[in-house]
Symmetry: C2
Subunit: 195 residues, 2 copies
């Protein structure tokens, strides 16, 4: 049997994949987002640059996967009140944005996403999808309890919460205010409640 050249169906080596992702996550913490190049990631992972480019279109997509794609098993909070649920959701966002790799990449990564027409359209979905799913469940319960109206604008609330956390943590927050999640949750809950 003659050997066949790699075909489109040839499975990718999973060890390369995790070596690359791990190298990217290490480098952004060590040298920051701007200084982390595909070449440096390739060298750290012990692969060629083409091995990286076969899997990811470019640096933003790779860094996003390395830093923000986690097996997200966190249950949706169910504290009994909207303010309580929002506090837990927000503390989760604060912790996620403040983790070393996320804090290192967020402003630069968002800027690269915003500068790419294809990626710009994916900002809200890529960065906020898990949070939006959980917020929808929290809102359903709040509607059932009569706390908020069914037509409460979920995207506006999500943008407000994510934007506030990004601004406070991602841009200025060496030491994020420990009361941030509770205060912001209280203000937003009171702001959208109808009873």
């Amino acid at each position: 049997m003659s050997s066949s050249p790699p075909s489109r169906g040839r499975p990718r080596n999973p060890r390369s994949h995790s070596a690359i992702v791990g190298a990217a996550a290490e480098l952004v913490v060590e040298v920051g987002y701007a200084a982390t190049s595909i070449g440096a990631v390739a060298a750290r992972a012990g692969v060629g640059k083409d091995t990286i480019y076969r899997r990811w279109p470019g640096k933003p997509e790779l860094v996003f996967e390395a830093v923000f794609t986690t097996t997200d098993n966190a249950p949706t909070p169910d504290t009994g009140t909207l303010a309580g649920d929002l506090t837990v959701l927000l503390q989760g966002l604060v912790d996620e944005f403040h983790a070393p790799a996320a804090a290192a990449v967020l402003p630069g990564l968002l800027a690269d996403f915003a500068a790419d027409p294809v990626l710009k359209a994916r900002i809200r979905s890529d960065f906020l999808a898990p949070s939006k799913e959980r917020l929808l469940i929290v809102f359903e319960r709040a509607v059932a309890r009569g706390e908020i109206a069914a037509e409460t604008p979920v995207d506006l609330v999500l943008d407000t919460l994510a934007g506030a956390v990004f601004f406070h943590i991602g841009l200025v927050g060496e030491h994020p205010d420990p009361q941030l999640a509770a205060l912001l949750a209280a203000v937003v809950a009171k702001g959208i409640e109808v009873r």
Copy 2:
């Protein structure tokens, strides 16, 4: 009398200053923030790069001045209610962030500020100083009317409003929701009111 070399006290040529600032503002709209280099600005302005570096430490400081430093004569709103005043303030932020040059530079410029230890500490003051002054006056009136408590956390509210507008407009908003300012103002006003 022999000619003397330029001394530290020699006044800078104001025409160079405005030519440089104007060139930067044009270029970021034409080619975006990332592609706007000091060299390109110098060429457009008809000056040498050293002329630029004598006045500004680097690109972020220059672009910030070119895009965000305006003679800000907008009066602080006084509509009679907190929600009304916040709506006007927010619409001002929406308009400012959505203007072509600001929209072109905001994500990348914020990323460069965040990546520089000196500039990072100035993000809140540089970008939000005029808004904070106006918000403080709006809050004073709201306290006097008994709408909010005197200890309402002004930085948290400002971060929330600016973050929400930045996220909605700066990152995703080709066509910003025309109701954004009013909705966000209503939610935040209701969220912080005590009566």
